[in-house]
């Protein structure tokens, strides 16, 4: 072979198995002291979808919760298995549409409060009428564009 042309870096296409936590402690000679502690796999699903039946992912749209760290396009993990408590960020149904707000219990009403001063709270007089889908438990916020990570298919068209 005379010459080599560098085309770019090749990444393994077949996704690697989830990262083993302890396996990097391999040693030669002596048996690894970590061998007995193998090997809980880091599985993001256990974090994002804690309850496989009751966990749902949703894409956030809008600016009203930026103060709580939820930005337009973020992915939210919503858990239906927990009861919403005062102060939780919830997905609630307002006029036939789901919205993300902070739940605020007041003396004679319930309010859905935005985390952005430009948005007014939504006051629900009759708490029984408030339908809550679930509690928002995690936010996945990208720090570089998904396209740069080769995830262009992730965003809706």
């Amino acid at each position: 072979m005379d010459h080599v042309i560098l085309l770019g870096k090749a990444y393994p296409l077949l996704s690697a198995p989830p990262l083993p936590m302890m396996n990097m402690l391999l040693s030669c000679g002596f048996p690894s002291p970590a061998a007995d502690y193998e090997s809980e796999l880091v599985d993001l699903n256990r974090l994002m979808l804690r309850h496989p039946d009751a966990s749902f992912l949703a894409r956030a749209h809008g600016q009203s919760m930026t103060g709580a760290g939820i930005h337009d396009g973020d992915v939210l993990a919503v858990d239906r298995s927990m009861l919403a408590q005062d102060g939780d960020i919830v997905v609630a149904c307002v006029e036939g549409e789901y919205t993300v707000k902070r739940l605020s219990q007041r003396v004679d009403s319930v309010a859905l409060v935005a985390e952005n001063p430009a948005y007014k709270p939504i006051v629900v007089r009759n708490a029984d009428e408030l339908r809550i889908f679930g509690v928002v438990v995690l936010v996945l916020h990208p720090l570089v564009t998904e396209g740069r990570r080769g995830l262009s298919y992730v965003r809706p068209q």
């Binding site: 296409l13 009751a54 809008g62 239906r80 036939g96």
Partner: protein, 439 residues
């Protein structure tokens, strides 16, 4: 004791979980290609819409009265079903998934520790809370009676709904644990609504003057053996009387056959178009096989013409092929599928559906020696290729990498693609269609 959990108006309920604007409105779900009504919300039932009715016949009046129609979204229904079943498996010692929206639970011994009616009510509430899907539960000493109890629970629930009280204030649970309750329940159910009584048996029973489940439970075993399919009929009677004849069958063995078929979005007359559909079904069948670690020995290719045109029957044509060796290789499967199609092709006919059925399933690699005689043996390279194919399709979405026969020109719609004009997004199973919430 056995429990039967059955989801209420399952497909319509799935749609409502993510589309709250559908709450309180009549909702129907249509079959493939938006043909017939296959699921109805309580409100749609109240409007008198019948199951299976061609939608175009009722569309104008139904939509004028505020009804909404959804194209079937099996990605969504499958995922919601998986959620319901997963939860039931956490609660009951053994669960038999009977259909997409029904499961039997083995509750033996539990009545000593739990008030079963209370327990069933708790399960029902939890499924609703955790998945958003409303269910009814029937609990009884046999599967047949549990099924019947569930039916009564559903009827009670519907009555509550139709008298305009708060939806779902019916308890949604019926427990038949003593003979008195069982007798009363049997008297309320028509014989044709008993689990296992088919259309033909029902006609026979009616001729014999047997109208209710209670009357059926009272017929002699000899008569049942003679008229209701032998042992099967006798078993049904025993179960109705409270003696269990079948247990909960937990499915851990992979299925014995699998089928991939779809109706086309339009009538197809060119063999090349139908061949594309057949190839895509064969490829999907291969993917399913590999996911289960199975390989197939028998392949049936079938194509169907419309039953509603002017042509006389037959409407369905099929070719069966015995493969030289059990295979899970998409390229081998699509090759044989093509040969099958060529063998059964009828020029000049108008086809509306095609499919692939695979039988004779065995564990992949179980018949290694036969591979000696096959040109496309299950070589390690081919296995790797299939692994890569599956990984790519998993990573970039189904159909990212396909066999050439199943590919259309860039930008051209697949001529065999389905019409699903009013399909909601695959809210829970595709990144690109993920459920969206405002904030």
């Amino acid at each position: 004791m056995f429990g039967l959990v059955d989801c209420n108006n399952f497909y319509a309920s799935c749609e409502r979980v993510f589309r709250p604007e559908l709450e309180g409105r009549p909702v129907v779900v249509l079959s493939n290609n938006d043909g017939c009504v296959v699921a109805r919300s309580q409100e749609a039932k109240a409007l008198g819409l019948k199951m299976g009715v061609p939608y175009f016949q009722v569309k104008a009046e139904y939509e004028q009265r505020g009804g909404v129609a959804c194209s079937s979204n099996y990605e969504l229904y499958g995922d919601m079903s998986r959620r319901v079943m997963w939860y039931l498996q956490q609660r009951a010692p053994a669960v038999e998934i009977y259909s997409i929206d029904e499961a039997f639970m083995d509750l033996h011994g539990m009545q000593r520790h739990f008030d079963l009616a209370g327990w069933a009510g708790d399960v029902r509430g939890a499924v609703r809370q955790r998945t958003g899907i409303p269910v009814c539960v029937g609990v009884a000493p046999t599967k047949t009676l549990a099924k019947l109890a569930n039916r009564l629970a559903k009827l009670a629930n519907q009555m509550v709904n139709s008298t305009n009280q708060l939806a779902n204030s019916g308890s949604g649970v019926v427990l038949l644990d003593d003979e008195e309750q069982q007798r009363e329940a049997l008297a309320q159910v028509a014989v044709e609504d008993v689990w296992g009584v088919g259309y033909r048996s029902a006609a026979k029973l009616h001729t014999a003057g047997i109208r209710t489940a209670a009357q059926l439970a009272g017929v002699g075993d000899a008569w049942a053996r003679k008229n209701l399919g032998g042992v099967v009929g006798a078993r049904m009677l025993h179960e109705l009387r409270g003696f269990p004849c079948s247990s909960v069958a937990v499915e851990d063995e992979a299925r014995k056959s699998l089928c991939c078929s779809r109706s086309f979005g339009q009538v197809l007359t060119r063999m090349e178009d139908v061949a594309g559909a057949v190839a895509s079904h064969a490829a999907r069948a291969g993917e399913k096989l590999r996911a289960q670690g199975m390989a197939a020995r028998l392949m049936t290719v079938f194509i169907e013409t419309s039953r509603y045109g002017n042509m006389p029957p037959p409407y369905s044509f099929s070719a069966q092929l015995t493969l030289p060796t059990a295979t899970d290789d998409t390229l081998v499967l699509t090759g044989w599928a093509r040969r099958g199609l060529e063998r059964l092709w009828r020029p000049g006919m108008r086809f509306v559906k095609a499919g692939i059925m695979l039988d004779g399933l065995e564990r992949a690699g179980a018949s290694q020696q036969a591979a000696l005689f096959a040109d496309t043996a299950r070589s390690p390279e081919r296995a790797k290729l299939m692994g890569a194919l599956d990984a790519l399709n998993k990573r970039y979405g189904g159909g990212a990498v396909r066999v050439g026969a199943a590919v259309t020109m860039a930008g051209q719609p697949e001529p065999w693609g389905m019409k699903r004009g009013a399909k909601s997004p695959a809210f829970t199973t595709k990144w690109g269609e993920l459920w969206q919430v405002r904030c």
